[in-house]
Symmetry: C2
Subunit: 208 residues, 2 copies
């Protein structure tokens, strides 16, 4: 076992850093920023305090990296199969089905957007800004799909693309809250069916 | 100034207890259970630790009383004017309008159901049960209104009353999350218009 090169040390450090982020993400997502204790973070990562904070300047820095990881972890499965859909309407319907389908196993504690929005509403401006940017990006992606469907004549020109995005996101996130509280996915399935009918009702009449 | 009777002492104690609950409700609603610190509770109530805990056995007991108060504080304005509406549909429409209208000034920090559901999803079973009961009661009240509208021929017999309740609550609560994050009531207004259209679409055809 020779002396590690600086590059190898850096790679190993990066891997440890990434592993800390992944494990901490579940703790922050379940507990919130204030509620995530050092002892829980140590237990989840299997590291001592010094082992964690060798890679992060502060709990704040770790929480920020954990949010980015968590949002990516839940967002990726929601986009699954979207590229294979030809029509904008089918893409919108698939977004709903992906969301209300099986939860991603990569993260415990529910939707990190909902959790961070509610947790950071008083006192953590950086996490709050991250959640706001995540929401804004989600709104934009849905509104763009609607606009594209309007351009190609699939969807009614009279609907407001951003309003469609707001209705979809509000209903889906509210259903996550209900499902989390009731420990059943029933609310998500009900909302999924509602949004499916809603989206089908936005079809341009000529395509009806 | 004579010696206070036991009854007078009790009344004064009750008043102090009630004032602590009211002030603490805002702190718990903004900060969550773990995030609500003793110093914040002391600042909000204007009392020392001993002054607060003379009336409550624990932070847990205070948080439970605060949730009950908070839920009542937001629920009452949502029911405003309901009795004056003759039709079930008008009652449902008014529920939506009350919700998305001006927020009650009685409580800071947004909807206590949303906050408690998200905050307590790991670790506080009593608060969680309180939030679950609040959600369940809300679902029942809306579903009962729909059933009543079906019985009197206003609303389609084919709709599932509980599904209407889930759609309304999910969309409204999701909009609260979005509005809280974006610091604008626009999402609530968009969702309000969506639910209005949705409810109007549930009218029995003969009443068309």
């Amino acid at each position: 076992m020779g002396v590690e090169s600086p590059a190898a040390r850096s790679t190993k450090g990066d891997l440890t850093r990434q592993r800390i982020i992944e494990k901490a993400a579940g703790v922050f997502n379940r507990r919130g920023f204030a509620g995530a204790s050092l002892s829980e973070l140590m237990e989840a990562t299997g590291l001592e305090k010094g082992g964690i904070y060798r890679h992060f300047e502060s709990k704040q820095e770790l929480a920020e990296a954990a949010f980015d990881y968590a949002w990516e972890a839940v967002s990726a499965p929601r986009q699954r199969g979207l590229e294979e859909q030809k029509s904008s309407l089918d893409k919108l319907l698939l977004l709903v089905r992906n969301f209300v389908g099986e939860p991603p196993r990569t993260l415990s504690g529910g939707c990190p957007l909902l959790n961070t929005a509610v947790d950071s509403d008083d006192g953590n401006p950086v996490l709050r800004n991250k959640a706001r940017a995540a929401l804004s990006g989600w709104r934009t992606r849905i509104a763009d799909l609607v606009r594209s469907g309007q351009r190609n004549g699939e969807l009614l020109k009279t609907i407001d693309p951003d309003s469609v995005a707001v209705v979809m996101i509000a209903a889906l996130e509210g259903a996550v809250m209900m499902s989390g509280l009731e420990k059943t996915r029933e609310p998500q399935h009900i909302v999924g069916r509602h949004l499916e009918e809603y989206l089908l009702g936005l079809r341009a009449r000529s395509k009806g």
